[in-house]
């Protein structure tokens, strides 16, 4: 049992996978000697060599496209996109190819690959180093999308993703990389894809969230606990397939719900969660299905006074929950 930050937990999972299965390889920009711009792949180049930790040319579509081919051949590629904001040149390969391969070939072919990428804001990354991208990818049947928020979950879910026979987009919140620490067992353990975590138990209102916002929600819940408001926080961990049961059970228990995410509000992933609740838990609702999310502007600006406006904060979350509880 070691205390690791999120980044270290991911590094461990990569290392263990590569040690256990020689079909696993890493491909991406600066993943080699540099160990990745965030140093997530630190040490792996030295340990496994440049044939298994491949510094790719600066071209996202071929990073993904060649990983698809290698996966079809029988390898287990783990592709890194340096920032989630730079995944869009590979959008066509991911959604038209990786995600549709099994279906279109009537199960003859499969694409067992993982795409890892740091996403999310709050680190002065400006418009193109802060984005949330899950709304695009959770809409795609054939793809799985995982977004752990703790070192414990990150390690196990990355191992599960690499073992999964289908393509998995693995989202790493870059503000959590060094900020979030936690104990990670040395012995093997699992966290299955598709199972949410009740991060905090409560009875007055549920918050459905993931990523950095899980931590902000817990902070808000702690503030509200002092006011005798009991908040349940659900950390989805996997965004597709969504753990509907856990979400609906929580809403049916508390009868009030806030869907919280840091991406732009309109058309964000939380819209789907809210829509499911509004249809399937309608009879249990004692208040509107509330949403709180990032601003509807093209992306987070750089200058501090502007950047600070973008994200929900623990205070804003607490305010929203207070109103909702009083509804």
């Amino acid at each position: 049992m070691a205390e690791l930050n999120l980044l270290e937990a991911i590094n461990r999972a990569l290392d263990e996978s590569m040690a256990a299965d020689d079909r696993v390889f890493i491909i991406g920009e600066d993943v080699g000697q540099r160990g990745g711009v965030f140093r997530v792949t630190d040490g792996l180049h030295a340990k496994y060599g440049e044939k298994r930790v491949i510094d790719a040319p600066l071209a996202e579509s071929i990073i993904i496209g060649s990983s698809i081919g290698a996966a079809m051949y029988g390898m287990r590629p783990v592709a890194e996109i340096q920032f989630a904001d730079f995944i869009f040149p590979a959008f066509n390969q991911i959604i038209s190819e990786a995600a549709r391969m099994r279906y279109r070939s009537n199960n003859a072919w499969e694409v067992p690959m993982v795409i890892r990428t740091p996403y999310g804001g709050g680190i002065h990354g400006a418009l193109y180093h802060s984005q949330s991208i899950e709304a695009f990818f959770t809409h795609i049947p054939g793809l799985k999308v995982v977004a752990p928020s703790t070192p414990y979950d990150a390690k196990a879910l990355l191992l599960a993703s690499i073992a999964d026979p289908d393509p998995v987009l693995f989202l790493e919140h870059k503000k959590c990389y060094r900020l979030i620490k936690g104990f990670v067992p040395d012995e093997p353990y699992t966290v299955p894809i598709g199972v949410a975590d009740v991060a905090r138990t409560g009875s007055d209102v549920s918050v459905i969230t993931y990523g950095l916002m899980r931590h902000y929600a817990v902070e808000a819940a702690e503030m509200l606990a002092k006011e005798d408001i009991s908040v349940e926080v659900i950390d989805l961990r996997t965004l597709r397939p969504l753990d509907r049961e856990t979400v609906l059970a929580s809403v049916k228990k508390t009868n009030k719900v806030l869907v919280l995410y840091e991406d732009n509000l309109f058309g964000g992933y939380g819209a789907e969660v809210a829509a499911i609740i509004a249809q399937d838990a309608f009879e249990y609702l004692d208040g509107p299905v509330q949403r709180l999310a990032g601003l509807d502007i093209p992306a987070m600006p750089y200058s501090a006074p502007l950047e600070n406006e973008f994200l929900p904060t623990p205070e804003k979350i607490a305010d929203t929950l207070r109103d909702l509880v009083q509804y």
Binding site: G65, Q93, N106
Partner: protein, 324 residues
């Protein structure tokens, strides 16, 4: 194939080209009869494909084709019955069980990789397959094809570039028929030859007459040898003709003059190869009639077989989104 140009081989090439042509013509018939909503042809590309296939080892080498590659499919081992199952979108279509449009070939047992409709996306896959084969130390060459129009896509550039960096055992095979649907080559690129691109990636590029099966075979053999010896990729551009409209949804009279169409027919690769084999006295009327009879029977059999085959069960529509 020990002796490179032994007669049996030369005749087999002819048979495959003629079979592809006959099957392709049958598809158009079925389309006109309202039985096949969509057809897209290999007519005019047969020599390029058969010449290429003959240099590959079926089931060992990997094939990452595009929609015009009917003759390649037959040469690698897809049967006319299987092709017709695909045309009529029947349950047992090996490409996709009727899920994809016809001519979106795939055949797992033959290492023929499933491709999609967006043009050019298959080229990166071929590079990834070659990378995997190289990593595993397998004796595998990967062949991928695309039209000259598709060479304008960014994916093709990125794929060739990576293949050049890593010296991958992959052959980029551009079937240049001068058109991307209606857009003529001069509106697609500022050069005569797509093969000129190769030197920008650090590997050889060669342009061959894609209506000459033997010329294609020779260039392919050299490229396969290169790949196998670890020297990396080759770009082969085969100048073909597109003897039909782009597809059954197209009407090429709107953009090709009657003269153009006529001129093109003089470059029919099946005719010219037949003439060559006659002039070399490898084939004569009787032998040709024999081959054609056999082909006709095969095409008839495939048609009847596929027409009788069952359609997919609607209850299967939601299967295989993920592993089951």
């Amino acid at each position: 194939m020990k002796q490179e140009r032994d007669q049996a081989q030369l005749i087999e090439m002819f048979r495959l080209m003629a079979l592809a042509r006959a099957l392709d013509e049958r598809m158009w018939q079925l389309n006109r009869q309202g039985k096949a909503p969509f057809v897209i042809s290999c007519q005019g590309h047969e020599a390029a494909q058969v010449g290429a296939a003959m240099a590959l080892r079926p089931k060992q080498d990997w094939i990452v084709p595009y929609y015009r590659d009917l003759a390649m499919m037959l040469a690698i081992g897809v049967t006319p019955r299987e092709v017709m199952l695909g045309l009529l979108a029947k349950a047992d279509d090996p490409s996709s069980g009727g899920r994809q449009m016809p001519a979106h070939y795939s055949h797992r047992a033959l290492n023929i990789v499933s491709h999609s409709s967006p043009t050019g996306t298959q080229v990166p896959h071929a590079v990834g397959i070659a990378l995997a084969a190289q990593m595993r130390g397998d004796d595998v060459v990967t062949w991928t094809s695309f039209g000259e129009g598709t060479s304008s896509q960014g994916d093709v550039h990125e794929a060739m570039n990576l293949a050049g960096v890593m010296k991958l055992p992959v052959i980029f095979f551009c079937e240049n028929n001068g058109y991307a649907i209606s857009v003529p080559q001069r509106k697609q690129m500022g050069v005569e030859n797509v093969s000129d691109r190769a030197q920008g990636y650090g590997f050889p590029g060669v342009t061959v007459d894609g209506t000459n099966v033997l010329e294609v075979y020779e260039a392919m053999t050299a490229a396969v040898d290169r790949a196998r010896q670890g020297h990396g990729p080759t770009l082969i551009e085969a100048k073909c003709v597109r003897l039909t409209a782009h597809s059954s949804d197209d009407n090429d009279r709107t953009y090709r003059s009657a003269d153009d169409l006529k001129a093109m027919k003089t470059r029919d690769p099946v005719h010219s190869y037949e003439a060559y084999l006659r002039s070399e006295e490898i084939l004569d009327d009787a032998k040709i009639a024999g081959i054609r009879d056999e082909i006709k029977a095969q095409v008839n059999d495939a048609t009847t077989f596929a027409e009788k085959a069952p359609l997919p069960d609607p209850l299967t529509v939601s299967r295989y989104v993920y592993a089951e």
